[in-house]
């Protein structure tokens, strides 16, 4: 045993989830109709954004969030910066309230995840309304919100795996 605290490698908790997120987003963008209905399109970037802020404060994570948001904007064809700003708002909110959220029960964590997701969607809603002078459909926003909060187990898994990995942040 070296006696030194194990430092968390950025690739493990930032790089790998980011790539998974990108791959899942591309996979779910395939044109597909099931029984005449198009499947929902969750914002996969929400679970790493929530988990990164919960695991530990980091200098790299905000820029990873920025890259993820810009990827979503380019891939989905939306205004450049819309999801980048929305995800950064969510990340900043979790980072600010991190001390309050850490160690709470699963239902409470799910509640916080849903609240932060609603915050990101609210930011996206306002930005879209301002840029296009049209209010987006609340039903469409609601469906994507529901599809996104279903992803909470992925965020929980990432938090469980890396929350205690760096002893300096226990």
């Amino acid at each position: 045993m070296s006696g030194q605290a194990r430092v968390l490698a950025p690739w493990e908790w930032i790089g790998a989830p980011m790539l998974q997120c990108v791959a899942l987003t591309i996979l779910f963008a395939v044109s597909l109709k099931v029984f005449g209905l198009r499947p929902p399109e969750p914002v996969f970037a929400m679970w790493p954004v929530f988990a990164w802020a919960m695991i530990r404060p980091s200098i790299l994570a905000p820029f990873a969030v920025l890259l993820l948001g810009l990827f979503l904007d380019a891939f989905w064809g939306g205004p450049t910066g819309l999801w980048a700003v929305s995800l950064l708002v969510a990340y900043g909110a979790v980072l600010a309230a991190r001390n309050m959220m850490v160690g709470q029960s699963q239902p409470m964590m799910l509640f916080w995840y849903a609240t932060v997701t609603a915050l990101a969607f609210g930011a996206g809603y306002l930005i879209s309304a301002v840029k296009t002078q049209t209010y987006p459909s609340l039903v469409a926003v609601g469906w994507q919100f529901l599809a996104t909060i279903v992803l909470y187990p992925l965020a929980n898994r990432l938090i469980d795996r890396f929350e205690d990995a760096d002893v300096r942040f226990r």
Binding site: I26, L27, A29, V30, S31, L32, K33, R38, P40, E41, V43, R56, P57, S58, I59, L60, A61, P62, F63, V65, L66, G69, L70, D73, A74, F75, W76, G77, G78, P79, T80, G81, L82, W83, A84, V85, L88, V89, Y91, G92, L95, G124, Y125, I127, S128, K131, T132, T134, Y135, P136, S137, V139, A140, V141, W143, Q144
Partner: protein, 382 residues
């Protein structure tokens, strides 16, 4: 010098603060990018190199990923066709018998239509060439509804071209690169399409809101639309051709008129991109905006000059020649300024001098629009 000897070696910046600074920097970058985004302008140059490269990479990836789904769908169709061949055959025979009647009616109408066009000398639109494509990726969120089609610059696709499926209008191209085109769907929040109700010719702007059924904005008139009315493109503005089927009008619970899109009736996997040159691309805007230069005066009076010792025109008062002609007006007077040189000399004094007896149609106040078709009222007895 070791780290311990360095006077700044013991200096440790709190990670929370540095993380906050990183967050602020990232947020500023994101907001600057958002403020500079010009997606809503739909200009080809506003699409950006990053998006073009992204589309060029995403199109083949999406094509590969959608292949298994396509194969599965084809397999299911084959099995279904095998088991339901008899009922399908019966249904198709009935449909064919009905279609033959419609064919005869259509041929008759086409003949009549051709004769009317010849009689009226109508200038009809030429047929529009088109390119078939397959959509490989789509985004279905509330803030962006786009698709990527697997044809691009190599097929002469340009931004602005309309995209239709077998059932109706899907959207239009907003970005093109080699091997891929980005199609903005009618449901996108930035989509605005001029449409009209087929029954009443009532105009509206079809406005996407991220939901499945875009709204009809700016509807005017008394009952311009009814439930189930067919909605087609109006062609106003010259951006889209007139008459492309869009969908069916429905009234929602909030009292707004929406359109159930015709293109939603079947999967939009294969589309056709119409190589339609809109009016803005065809017209030479520099030529249109050019102000006509007035011709040089030949023995006449230039606009703005004081007419000296000009003989009075018949029917005008003696003081008319000394009147100063109205100074040149800016843009609105272009037509007046470009009249032949002899015209101002003859018309200017008359325009400047009030007529001795005003014309009768100006003496009475103008009748309301609704009364213009009624016969004039008899004059009262003197």
């Amino acid at each position: 010098m070791s780290l311990r000897d360095n006077p700044f070696g013991e200096l440790k910046v709190p990670l929370t603060w540095t993380a906050a600074v990183a967050l602020i920097v990232a947020a500023i970058v994101a907001m600057v990018l958002l403020a500079n985004d010009r997606r809503g302008t739909f200009q080809a140059e506003a699409y950006g190199v990053t998006r073009r490269v992204g589309d060029a990479v995403a199109a083949p990836v999406g094509g590969v990923m959608s292949a298994p789904i396509r194969w599965t769908g084809d397999g299911v169709d084959t099995v279904r066709g095998y088991f339901f061949a008899v009922s399908e055959n019966r249904r198709l025979k009935a449909e064919l018998a009905e279609a033959r009647q419609w064919r005869d009616a259509a041929l008759l109408l086409r003949d009549t239509n051709e004769r009317y066009k010849t009689l009226l000398g109508l200038r009809t639109d030429p047929p529009i060439p088109m390119v078939a494509a397959r959509t490989v990726l789509d985004s279905r969120g509330p803030f962006a509804n786009t698709r990527i089609a697997n044809v691009g610059k190599e097929k002469a696709i340009k931004a602005g071209y309309p995209v239709v499926s077998e059932n109706g209008l899907v959207g239009r191209v907003i970005g093109v690169t080699t091997g891929a085109s980005r199609v903005l769907l009618l449901t996108d929040i930035a989509s605005r399409v001029p449409v009209m109700v087929d029954r009443t010719n009532a105009r509206a702007i079809l406005t996407g809101d991220g939901g499945p059924n875009p709204t009809m904005e700016y509807l005017r008139g008394q009952e311009p639309v009814r439930q189930g009315d067919r909605v087609v493109t109006s062609g106003d503005g010259g951006v889209l051709p007139r008459g492309l089927p869009v969908g069916t009008a429905v009234k929602t619970l909030d009292g707004r008129w929406r359109v159930v899109l015709a293109s939603d009736a079947a999967p939009v996997d294969f589309v056709r991109i119409l190589l339609f040159q809109d009016f803005a691309q065809l017209a030479d805007s520099a030529e249109l905006n050019k102000m006509p230069v007035p011709p040089p005066p030949v023995g006449g009076v230039q606009v703005g000059e004081v007419r000296q010792a000009s003989p009075a025109a018949p029917g005008t008062s003696a003081s008319a020649p000394s009147l100063k002609i109205t100074p040149p007006r800016p843009a609105g007077a272009a037509a007046t300024a470009s009249t032949p040189p002899s015209a101002p000399a003859a018309t200017a004094p008359r325009a400047a001098t009030p007529p001795a007896t005003p014309p009768p149609q100006l003496a009475t106040p103008p009748a309301p629009a609704a009364a213009t078709t009624s016969p004039p009222a008899p004059a009262p007895a003197q």
